[in-house]
């Protein structure tokens, strides 16, 4: 579903509002950004693409005043600038809306929009003028949000729109949106895009940072690709296929990305290893039926809010189910805590790797052996040599880098942290592995490794539930796919019978009004 934006004339027609030439940033001996050029034109939506470590966030930091480049020039509106602080960038008309909404949840919408530049009368805050100003800004964008309401009473999507309202309430030339759609559902993304188009029509330039290829192709006029700190090129979406874009980001041919085709027929689900029926957790997941056979990979596909994580957490005892039954190897069980689930061989890898997975202050070794130790209980301590052996063997098996068991886990990259987490779970010799967004925020190389690993584990008899927002990935990895919408499993289909487009259609189909 791609809406083609009409290609606009750039060269020679208008001057860029932001022009970066030869930007170079070095952290010690490492060159993070190497003579990068970048242009942003007024009224366009421009996407900055690249892997982790490609230099995207560094370039943005250079633009928004968080750091100063060691070499090269930044021009805004034709004038060379050198931002000493983020506030200087804001003053120059460059506003940023971060992924973690940096607003104050305890204050009103109006206050959030005006904070730091509140209208004042005789030195005191003028509440009425503030509400009026906020109302004006919100109306301008076509948003109906009560300015007197407290921000935390609204959903994340609305809060994001308020953040944008705040950003444009001052004279803004450039709006940087950092991963704005990670937590939005389809309707909310549409709303956001509407506001973005409204802004571009007024000549605001938008720098849209997102890893959702679909969205980039839908909304962006131009794409800049970085790789390894260097500029690869500027492209127009209509002239570059997805495959080509990913190729440019990765720097390798897309054949390597194909995982072994899953030719074995679906496992015999008459004797499932894990079976859930009518599983319900609040309104997050309702009446879910799922069966998982031995050595099978079942993918959960759906948008955010469709209930994938809720289902995963209920299956593994992380959250308590309100209704329904779960059976492990045919016997009904009460999965009330993660401990119980682990004891039954059902383990969970959380999507919030940093906050619910890795314990950053502990070493890689301690992280890997943690669950095993917890299972054995307080009084049966794993001997020092045994712990070392375990850690070394898993580091080797999963190619965890750097291969140092005593390194604090917090210093590892996202991909390696995920591997440590996997090692911890696999050390328990589980029957069922539930992976929630295991490849999120990981560079494509590590992504492929993990996908391959899942395949190998399944081949060896482990059953896997695989959740990912990227439908291509789910298709590639799974035997069968359960499609979720609005908290329910609407269909379960063999992966061989699906394509990305048909899966997308199933996932995106709007709710039938009952």
């Amino acid at each position: 579903m791609m809406v083609t934006m009409d290609p606009r004339e750039h060269e020679g027609d208008r001057a860029p509002v932001v022009e970066i030439s030869g930007a170079t940033v070095r952290f010690g001996a490492e060159t993070v950004l190497d003579r990068v050029d970048f242009r942003l034109f007024p009224g366009e939506v421009h996407s900055l693409m690249g892997e982790n470590g490609a230099g995207k966030s560094t370039l943005i930091k250079a633009l928004t005043g968080v750091l100063r480049p060691d070499a090269g020039e930044v021009r805004v509106g034709g004038e060379p600038v050198s931002f000493a602080t983020p506030a200087a960038a804001i003053a120059a008309g460059i506003s940023t809306v971060y992924q973690e909404i940096d607003l104050l949840p305890n204050l009103t919408v109006a206050e959030n929009i005006c904070l730091g530049r509140e209208p004042r009368r005789f030195g005191a805050v003028d509440w009425r003028a503030m509400a009026a100003r906020a109302e004006a800004v919100l109306d301008d964008l076509g948003l109906r949000i009560d300015p007197h309401s407290i921000l935390s009473t609204h959903s994340l999507a609305v809060q994001q729109l308020v953040a944008i309202a705040r950003a444009i309430s001052i004279d803004v030339r450039v709006l940087v949106l950092d991963e704005p759609t990670s937590s939005l559902d389809l309707d909310e993304v549409a709303e956001l895009f509407r506001v973005m188009r409204e802004l571009t029509e007024r000549g605001v330039a938008i720098l849209f940072v997102s890893h959702f290829l679909d969205q980039v192709y839908e909304i962006c006029d131009r794409i800049t690709v970085l790789r390894g700190g260097r500029l690869i090129g500027e492209y127009v979406p209509t002239e570059l296929l997805r495959v080509g874009l990913v190729e440019k980001m990765l720097g390798r041919s897309s054949d390597e990305m194909a995982v072994r085709a899953r030719t074995e027929p679906a496992a015999d689900v008459a004797a499932p290893v894990l079976a859930a029926s009518e599983l319900t957790v609040g309104s997050g997941i309702v009446d879910a039926d799922l069966r998982l056979g031995e050595g099978e990979v079942v993918g959960l596909a759906g948008l955010l809010g469709s209930g994938r994580s809720e289902l995963a957490r209920a299956l593994t005892g992380v959250d308590r189910a309100d209704a329904g039954t779960i059976r492990v190897a045919g016997a009904p069980v009460e999965l009330t805590t993660p401990r119980r689930a682990i004891a039954l061989g059902v383990v969970y890898s959380s999507e919030s790797r940093r906050t619910e997975g890795i314990i950053e202050g502990l070493s890689v070794q301690d992280n890997i052996t943690l669950a095993l130790q917890a299972e054995r209980g307080v009084f049966h301590r794993l001997g020092t040599t045994r712990r070392r052996e375990l850690a070394q063997s898993w580091i080797e098996a999963l190619d965890i880098r750097p291969a140092d068991p005593d390194r604090p886990a917090g210093t590892l990259s996202g991909g390696n942290q995920q591997k440590v987490l996997l090692a911890r779970l696999l050390a328990l010799s589980p029957r069922v592995l539930v992976l929630d967004e295991p490849t999120r925020g990981i560079d494509v190389g590590a992504k492929v490794e993990i996908q391959r690993l899942v395949g190998e584990l399944a081949d060896n008899g482990l059953s896997v539930v695989f959740i990912s927002a990227e439908l291509e990935e789910v298709l590639r990895v799974s035997n069968r796919i359960a499609v979720l919408r609005g908290g329910r499993i609407v269909d379960t289909i063999a992966a061989d019978d699906l394509t990305v487009d048909s899966l997308l259609a199933l996932v995106a189909q709007p709710e039938e009004t009952s």
């Binding site: 506030a87 305890n106 730091g116 805050v125 309401s149 009473t153 609204h154 959903s155």
Partner: protein
């Protein structure tokens, strides 16, 4: 027009809409309202039990006996709103009281001594603020250290109490402004306390500094990214707490007519209890000075009831402790529930 924010399903039933809008606008006032209800219920209950509770004499004493606590509570509100805590206020009150009384007994004029006391309080507050802000020391450790230091300093001034004979100070407490004999009365100490409350309310509600205090309590990182003067504000709230401790020292010394190095042991806990009971969230970002005032009155009422009952004063602390616990548990339950409201 956006359909995102209108309620898609139900046609807007006026009453439901009004309630929802009220809640979305004034949610943070609800705990204060609860405190007020509790206060009134206690008053009515006491009146029903004793018969002579709701008299002008008792009610006036309610304010004036706790004037020092009122001042301390205003300062503490600022600190707790930013998510911090100040355990030193009782000891600083004692120290400034001791030093003030000592200076007065050495012949220094009141007009010099009182500002010195306030500045001293400000200084101790500044020390705590610097430790918290520039050295990343946790507020309770920094203020605990200040509490110990102030207590030791109080004893350094004198190991025993110092009587105050200065007429100006004594005037603060002894003068009564009374409408008619037998009706409500007010002393200058009470007026000072009420003024402090008023200034507190105005600053928090109408100045950029006050709004920054709330912002820091809401999300310090965001406040910083927004370019708000977080560092300066966090420092200042501890200074304000110190100033209030100094002022409370003046008021309390006037009230007792003497300075005693063991004054205010446990007062910081009373202050925190009053502020929390008054509806301020310990996590910061939500609360009002008016609520803290109600909290002080709740504390005072309990103390008065205990003395009416002729029971031991140690019961006051126990009961305050229990009520504080109940409030904290309720705050926790409410936070846990609303935490799951947002997606």
């Amino acid at each position: 027009m956006s359909t995102l924010t209108a309620d898609p399903a139900a046609p807007a039933r006026p009453l439901v809409e009004t309630v929802r809008r009220f809640r979305s606008r004034h949610a943070s006032w609800i705990p204060v309202f609860a405190a007020l209800v509790i206060f009134l219920v206690m008053l009515i209950g006491a009146q029903a039990n004793f018969g002579n509770f709701l008299t002008p004499r008792v009610l006036s004493a309610l304010l004036l006996d706790n004037a020092y606590l009122l001042i301390l509570a205003v300062g503490m509100t600022f600190v707790i709103l930013t998510g911090g805590i100040d355990l030193s206020v009782g000891a600083v009150m004692a120290f400034t009281g001791m030093l003030g009384a000592s200076l007065l007994s050495q012949g220094f004029p009141t007009v010099v001594v009182v500002p010195v006391m306030v500045v001293l309080g400000a200084g101790m507050g500044l020390a705590v603020g610097v430790m918290v802000q520039f050295f990343d020391v946790q507020p309770f450790i920094a203020s605990l250290a200040a509490m110990f230091a102030a207590r030791g300093l109080a004893f350094m001034v004198s190991l025993s109490s110092i009587k105050v004979e200065d007429p100006a100070i004594l005037w603060l407490q002894s003068t009564r402004l009374q409408g008619a004999p037998g009706s409500f009365y007010l002393t200058p100490t009470g007026i000072i306390a009420l003024l402090v409350v008023l200034v507190g309310i105005l600053v928090l509600q109408y100045t950029r500094f006050g709004r920054t205090v709330y912002a820091i309590g809401g999300n310090e990182q965001s406040a910083r990214l927004m370019g708000l003067p977080v560092v300066r504000t966090k420092l200042l709230v501890y200074v304000i707490s110190g100033v209030c401790a100094g002022l409370a020292g003046v008021v309390f010394t006037a009230y007792t007519g003497a300075a005693y190095p063991l004054t205010g042991v446990g007062t910081e806990l009373d202050t925190i209890a009053a502020v929390v009971i008054g509806g301020t969230l310990l996590s910061g970002g939500s609360g009002f000075v008016l609520g803290s005032m109600i909290g002080v009155f709740v504390y005072g009422t309990i103390k008065t009831v205990i003395s009416f009952l002729g029971a031991e004063q140690s019961w006051t602390r126990i009961i305050i402790g229990v009520i504080l616990l109940v409030f904290v548990v309720m705050q926790r339950l409410i936070v846990a529930r609303t935490g799951t409201n947002r997606r």
